[in-house]
Symmetry: C2
Subunit: 156 residues, 2 copies
């Protein structure tokens, strides 16, 4: 492995670089679909829980409503999802994958999974388990710290 990283980049800096470079990779890989990484989370969620609200997607990914609304609008405009009025709440909508959405899904999942696999290639099963467990702990702690920030829900 080529040593391309400055040795004293702190932990948080590594997370920033991973986040930004993953987005570049995903956006490029999806460029024939008209979608970008900003819509992946919504598409994958709808493949698991169909007929849900925007608020439910926000809740699952700790995203603010504006970010989810933008992703949903893009997916709807591109014909990948459709919305129907919630029968229990006239102000809310339920979201579902369209046929086009169902069709693109395996391709999108493959791209996201490929990144996960490629960056961990050659890790032993023990290392991978340990890494995932520590990363989840870091993620939970980071979320909890963010949740203590006043106005948290509006910022994420």
């Amino acid at each position: 492995m080529q040593d391309i990283l400055n040795k004293d980049i702190p932990l948080g800096g590594l997370f920033s670089i991973i986040y930004r470079s993953r987005n570049i990779y995903l956006n490029n890989s999806m460029n024939t679909t008209g979608l970008s990484q900003g819509q992946v989370f919504a598409l994958i969620t709808l493949s698991k829980e169909n007929n849900i609200t925007q608020d439910r997607i926000a809740e699952l990914f700790y995203l603010d409503k504006g970010t989810v609304a933008r992703a949903v609008r893009k997916l709807e405009d591109s014909g990948y999802i459709c919305r129907t009025q919630d029968p229990d709440n006239r102000r809310a909508h339920r979201l579902s994958l369209t046929e086009k959405g169902e069709k693109i899904l395996p391709y999108i999942k493959e791209i996201a999974n490929k990144w996960d696999k490629d960056v961990c290639k050659g890790f032993s099963p023990e290392d991978l388990d340990k890494f995932n467990s520590l990363l989840r702990t870091i993620c939970e702690r980071s979320l909890l710290s963010a949740m203590e920030v006043p106005g948290y829900g509006d910022r994420l």
Copy 2:
């Protein structure tokens, strides 16, 4: 630890959540300084290598020139850094911390280091070493994948 994360969020999704929640934490912690997380990397770099160009900062953090230019402008407007014309290249500028920048630096570093320490609290030294080593490998591989994308330098 409260189990707040959806169990099937993939690796890439965890990195997204960590990145976003860390930014919320940093921005809130720095809100008395007039700075945000988007300027931290430049400020810390200038504390290590004074009198450098914007391009050098972009290079160290794999950032595009626009992102670095915005961060530098904000730091300059807030009086934390100053620029002087590069004697070797009339079109470039060299950047340095001002007295105000030097003064705020320990506080900014403390905030960034505190996040790093807090999220890894209680990890054994072996676990921490292993985690850091695997994270750097993932970061390097992710960067290399992004670098293969056409027009990479304009997007990061």
